[in-house]
C-alpha cells in the first residue's frame, strides 16, 4: 500500500525542523510543503484549524499537529532508530525535559531576547536558571540521548527526543543573540551545554536539517530593525 506523508513546515521554524529531523532519522519519505505565513494556505487552515500553525503532518490524509506530539507519533508509527528509549521511567524523564524546554526554556529565552525591556532582566535570570538545570541533566553524557540502540557512544543513532526538542537552544539562540546583540548562552557560562551543541551539530542528520545560518541571521536582523522602527 502506497504511503503518503506530507509535512507543512516553515524553513526557519525550529518546531518544523524537529519533525523533519525525526522523519529523516527514521528514513521516512515525505513531501515538504513550505507554508506561506503571510497568506496562510487554505490547506493549513483545513488541517490545523485549532492552532493554524506549522508543523502539520499529513499521514495518508490524516492530519496531526504540535511538534512534540508529532515526535511521539513518528516514533510509534515507523520502526527503527527510535527517539525514545523502551523503559517507561526513562521515557517519562525524556518527556519531562522536552516539556521543560518548550514550556520554560524557550519562552524565557524568547522574552530575554525579544521581550519588553522591563521584562528582559527577569526573563534573562529565568533563562539562565533553566539552562543551568538543563545542563545539569546532561551530566557527562555527550547527548541527552535515549534514542536508537542506546549506549553513550554518541552518533546519530543515539539522538533522542530531548536532543531534537532542544534544537532551538543548539542553533537558533546563537543566531538570535548575534542579531539582537545579547549574550545569554556562551561557552564560559555553559561549558557542558556547549559540548553538547558541538556534538549535536556534528551529526549530519541535524546539520543538514537546519536553516542556512546567514539566511536565518538576516531574518532576525530585519526583525530587530522592524521592531526598532515601530517604536
Amino acid at each position: 500500500m502506497a504511503e503518503e506523508v506530507k509535512l507543512f513546515g516553515l524553513w526557519g521554524s525550529p518546531f518544523s525542523r524537529r519533525v523533519e529531523i525525526a522523519l529523516k532519522i527514521k528514513g521516512v519519505k515525505y513531501e515538504y510543503i513550505e507554508d506561506d505565513l503571510q497568506n496562510k494556505s487554505a490547506l493549513l487552515l483545513k488541517y490545523n484549524p485549532v492552532h493554524k500553525k506549522v508543523p502539520v503532518l499529513l499521514h495518508n490524509g490524516k492530519p496531526i499537529a504540535e511538534s512534540l506530539v508529532l515526535l511521539e507519533y513518528i516514533d510509534e508509527t515507523w520502526e527503527g532508530n527510535p527517539n525514545l528509549p523502551p523503559d517507561p521511567y526513562e521515557r517519562a524523564q525524556a518527556r519531562f525535559w522536552a516539556k521543560f524546554i518548550d514550556e520554560k526554556c524557550l519562552p524565557a529565552l524568547w522574552k530575554a531576547l525579544f521581550g519588553e525591556e522591563s521584562e528582559q532582566e527577569k526573563a534573562m535570570e529565568e533563562a539562565l536558571q533553566n539552562l543551568k538545570m538543563l545542563e545539569k541533566e546532561l551530566k557527562d553524557k555527550r547527548l541527552f540521548g535515549g534514542g536508537g540502540g542506546g549506549g553513550g557512544g554518541g552518533g546519530e543513532e543515539s539522538i533522542g527526543l530531548v536532543d531534537i526538542a532542544a534544537n532551538f537552544i543548539a542553533y537558533w539562540v546563537g543566531i538570535i543573540q548575534e542579531a539582537v546583540g545579547a549574550e545569554i548562552l556562551n561557552r564560559e557560562r555553559f561549558p557542558v551545554l556547549y559540548k553538547w551543541i558541538d556534538e549535536l551539530l556534528s551529526c549530519s542528520v541535524i546539520r543538514e536539517n537546519l536553516p542556512p545560518r546567514d539566511k536565518m541571521l538576516a531574518y532576525f536582523i530585519s526583525r530587530v530593525q522592524a521592531a526598532k522602527a515601530s517604536k
Binding site: 499521514h59 511521539e72 507519533y73 521511567y89 521515557r91 518527556r95 516539556k99
Partner: protein, 226 residues
Amino acid sequence: MEEKQSEVKLFGTWASGYCTRVVLALKAKGIPYRYIEEDLKNKSELFLRYNPVHKKVPLLLHNGRPVSESLIILEYIDEYWNHSPKILPDDPYKRAKVRFWADFYDRKLKEGTVAIMTSRGKEKEKAIEGFLELLKVFEEGIAKDFPEKLTFSNSQPLDFLDIIVGSSACNYEAYNEAVAVVVDPKRNPLFFQWMTALKECPLMKESLPPHDKLVAKMKSFQSRSV
C-alpha cells in the same frame, strides 16, 4: 509468576485537579499507593529533593524514583502497569489526538480558568469571553475526533481524556458558584453532557474534592489574587 513489587507514593494537594488525575489513574488500574498531602506553604524536604525543578504537585514516587507533571505521570502509569484498562488508546493516530487535546486543554482552557479567577471587572469579562471561545473549539474538536465522549456512560472505564478533563471540569458546579458560570448546558451542551455523565461515574465521585470545601478554596484564592 513474579508480582510487580512496587512502592508507590503520591504527593498531592486535595484541591488540585492535576493530583486528582493521578489518583484516578492509579485507582482505575488497581494500583495500591500511599497518598501524602503536601503543604505547599511549607514543602517537605523529601518533596523538594525529588522535585527540584518545578516543586509542584503531583509528584509520583515509584520505588523511590520520581515522576512529575500529571500528563507525564499518566503516560508512565499506563506504560509501566500496561494491563487493562488502558488509559491511552493503542492506535498511534488516536494517541496523537488525545495528546493534542490534552495539551490544548491544559495550555488554553485550564490557564483560562485561572485567568478568570485572577481578574476583575472588564478584564474578567474579557477573560470569560476568551475562555468560552476556547471551550467551543475544544467541544467541537472532541465532537469530531472522539464523538463517543458525547454519549459517555458511566459504566465505561475512564480513559486519558476523561481523566484529564473530568478531574477539574467535573467540579464545574463549584466553579460556577465561586467564580463564574462557564459551563452551562445552553452554551456547551455536548461538553456539559459529557461532564454530567462523567461526574456520576463511581470512581470520579469518590475522587473529586467535596463541593463546599472547594467553593471556599476557590473563593479564597480569588480574593487573594487581585
